[in-house]
Amino acid sequence: MDTSSTHLETGAAHEAETLALREQFDTEEQQRDAATLGMWVFLITEILFFGGAFLAYTIYRSSYPAVFGLASSSLNLPIGATNTCVLLLSSFTMVMAVRAGQLGQRKAIIIFLIITMFFGLAFLGIKAYEWTEKFEEHHVPALSNFFLEGTSLQGQAKIFFSLYFAMTGLHALHMVVGVGILLFIIWKTSQGTYSPEYYTPIDIAGLYWHFVDLVWIFLFPLFYLIDRHLPR
């Protein structure tokens, strides 16, 4: 960071080095607002990004409701539900980390972020297990002897599982990025970068984390819970 430039004429800017006011901003408030707005705009792009896939899902589900219901019941509900709980818990600990950031409790920030990260990794581990199960059950579209072999419904089931892998895969990719962000924030916290006056990165990392959780909150019922209410 080039702090040699002397454009911070608005006296208040020089309070503490840890405030890390970048040279293009005049005040911390402006910097915080810009970062927060930036993250919100980014999340809007993410909504549109997942939105395209959700649109494809909506169209195919309305075209092929019966097969989607059938394929959905073959998904492992207990595992999906467990993962939903894991993510909800991680959102809670993320909020606690942001709260600790507001209060400037460095140790608490690190502990809560580590727990959040642990939940994130647990989610990914469970997801990986679930995916390997799919390979064994011949639910992967590219493999031979796929689900519903020999019936006319197989193609549509392949579309269901294609969407399942594409969308949960995309979501898992976002979780991986999220874990990376948490690692970075933990490192920065241990360096003493953040204070009650400057904890914006923790805050916006939280926004991202909650967003990724929220995507799963939509994915879970749309993939796992179709037709579960019907008597079998």
């Binding site: 430039s5 002397t6 454009h7 970048r22 040279e23 293009q24 005049d26 402006q30 607002d33 810009a34 707005l37 930036g38 705009v41 980014f42 809007i44 792009t45 993410e46 549109l48 990004f49 997942f50 939105g51 395209g52 896939a53 649109l55 494809a56 169209i59 195919y60 075209s63 092929y64 579209p141 590219a142 193609g155 549509q156 392949k158 579309i159 599982f161 294609s162 969407l163 892998f165 594409a166 895969g169 995309l170």
Partner: protein
């Protein structure tokens, strides 16, 4: 910063640091704009070369220069390079990057490091695309229609799509940066309705980049999944829907047209005002027309699917909505024209380009109404009429505006004037070459010449020869600025802070600007285009 004597070496963004590293790791929006400028100039040359080969092949009715497979690759790579690696970044990433922060009185964009990252993303995306071309090319057309792109094409679809996917994030991040910058970085007194119209147009563009680009990203992601992992999402053999791909593709790619042309309109508003020495007529109308184009632009994508098996009712609605785009577009054209009325007009090179833009964009826009009407479109779909239409908007519009803007701001960016005589000549050559290239294509298309064919029947040859001749004139017109701009870097007259007597904040700081744009952040007490507060500087021919 002390005010140095005029003779002493003043610190500018160009001489504040030297060496490759100071450029490749810069966070200065002006230097990043220069990096973009060099990058997209190279892409323009590559894309132009492909276009030249296409025109050369079409000189004769026989497919004698290249095979049909090669020809498919040529027009695909021309489209991919020109759309994703030249037109989309063109004005926003160069002129927008350089001048948007200056026009609102900011020291930089809100996120300088993200700005640099976005340039690297364009380079990375470009590297994949270039790799695909060198390795053997890609032949799907720039639209990647499924199922050809997912199941049948044996060319480098994956590398190209990945390149566009990555470059898309460059575009998203530029848009995000602009949105936040306009919201949060305006100088004291710079209210929304004092913003130059350049900023309004770029703001509207950024909204499209932020809202549209993610959709093509996920669409290409699904295509990649289909090719790489044999998932089946658009595959008709499974019951998938290729038309769904077209909907998703055009949901971005139609608004992308406005990503390309709105920044052109941004430039024209500045030039027309400056060289008429009058405020743009109906400021608020022009500002909101940009926003209206951005909004309506998202509601018309279905007019690309009139013959794709989309329902007739959807076609009717999309046709109806498409006409609406003409309203804000016409507002702009009328208001620029009204700005000229009783203006003190000077015919410097940027103004010539602006006149070129207004005329050619009008033709491009009006023929857009032809193809927006259902019956007419069935006749001209996939013909040269459509090619001519969008080249009038993209080349006659955006590239004219881009070149006009580069001439207009060249003295600010470099501190040097370009040679006016040569520049006027090049503007004229480009205008003539452009019309000679593309006007015959309207006729060709109307007569039934389909696009994407490397052979054609004898009767079309005259018009094709005219078009190819025009393309060579156009090439001369594009090479001329490349030469005299380079010449002017060393030998051009020293420009001074405000050679045009323009009113924007970017003209109220020295040329080239200091690293932080202004010695002191300006406090804005005047509206945009207020010429009563302007002191023009003399062009000084003693600098070299």
């Amino acid at each position: 910063m002390a005010t140095a004597a005029i003779t002493a070496e003043r610190e500018t963004y160009l001489n504040s640091a030297y060496g490759l590293k100071s450029w490749l790791l810069t966070k200065d929006h002006k230097r990043i704009a220069v990096l973009y400028f060099i990058t997209i100039s190279i892409f323009f040359a590559i894309g132009g070369t492909f276009a030249g080969l296409i025109r050369l092949e079409l000189l004769t009715p026989e497919g004698d220069l290249v095979s049909s497979e090669t020809y498919n690759k040529l027009f695909t790579m021309h489209g991919v390079i020109m759309v994703f690696f030249f037109l989309i970044p063109s004005i926003p990433a160069t002129l927008g990057n350089f001048f948007l922060p200056m026009m609102i009185g900011a020291r930089d964009l809100a996120f300088p490091r993200i700005n640099l990252l976005s340039w690297y993303l364009l380079i990375a995306g470009g590297a994949f695309a270039i790799f695909a071309m060198v390795a053997g090319g890609v032949d799907t057309g720039w639209t990647f229609y499924t199922p050809y792109s997912t199941s049948y094409s044996t060319t480098y679809v994956i590398a190209t799509a990945l390149g566009i996917f990555i470059a898309g994030f460059s575009s998203i991040l530029t848009g995000l940066n602009f949105v936040v910058t306009v919201h949060r970085m305006r100088a004291p007194g710079m209210t929304w309705f004092r913003l130059p119209l350049f900023v309004w147009s770029h703001y509207a563009t950024s909204l499209i980049q932020v809202l549209g680009t993610p959709v093509i990203a996920v669409t290409l992601f699904l295509v990649l999944c289909e090719r790489l992992f044999h998932l089946g999402i658009f595959d008709p053999a499974l019951g998938g829907d290729p038309v769904l791909f077209q909907h998703l593709f055009w949901f971005y790619s139609h608004p992308a047209v406005y990503i390309m042309v709105l920044p052109g309109m941004a430039v024209i508003s500045e030039i027309v005002s400056t060289f008429s020495r009058k405020p743009v007529y109906g400021y608020a109308f022009v500002a909101f027309s940009s926003m209206a184009i951005a909004v309506i632009g998202f509601l018309v994508w279905g007019h690309h699917l009139f013959v794709s098996g989309q329902s007739l009712y959807a076609g009717l609605v999309f046709s109806f909505l498409s006409y609406f785009v003409a309203i804000p577009s016409a507002v702009k054209v009328f208001n620029w024209t009204a700005t000229l009325y009783r203006g003190s007009i000077s015919y410097d090179t940027p103004m010539l380009y602006a006149f070129g833009f207004i005329g050619l964009f009008t033709i491009g826009g009006l023929t857009g109404l032809f193809v927006a009407s259902l019956g007419m479109d069935v006749h001209v779909t996939d013909t040269y009429f459509v090619i001519a239409h969008f080249h009038y908007v993209m080349v006659g519009g955006t590239i004219m505006a881009y070149l006009g803007g580069v001439h207009y701001w060249w003295p600010k960016m470099t501190g040097r004037m370009y040679p006016e005589g040569f520049a006027k000549l090049s503007a004229l050559v480009i205008f003539i070459g452009f019309n000679l290239t593309f006007f015959p294509q309207f006729i060709l298309g109307y007569l039934g010449m389909p696009r994407r064919y490397h052979e054609y029947s004898q009767e079309f040859q005259l018009l094709h020869v005219l078009s190819s001749a025009g393309a060579s004139v156009l090439a001369v017109g594009y090479i001329m600025p490349a030469i005299y701009f380079l010449w002017s870097l060393r030998y051009g007259p020293v420009a001074g802070a405000n050679p045009w007597g323009a009113s924007g904040l970017e003209w109220r700081t020295p040329s080239p600007p200091p690293t932080h744009n202004f010695d002191r952040i300006p406090v804005v007490t005047f509206d945009a285009y207020d010429y009563s507060t302007v002191i023009p500087t003399e062009v000084n021919d003693v600098g070299h």
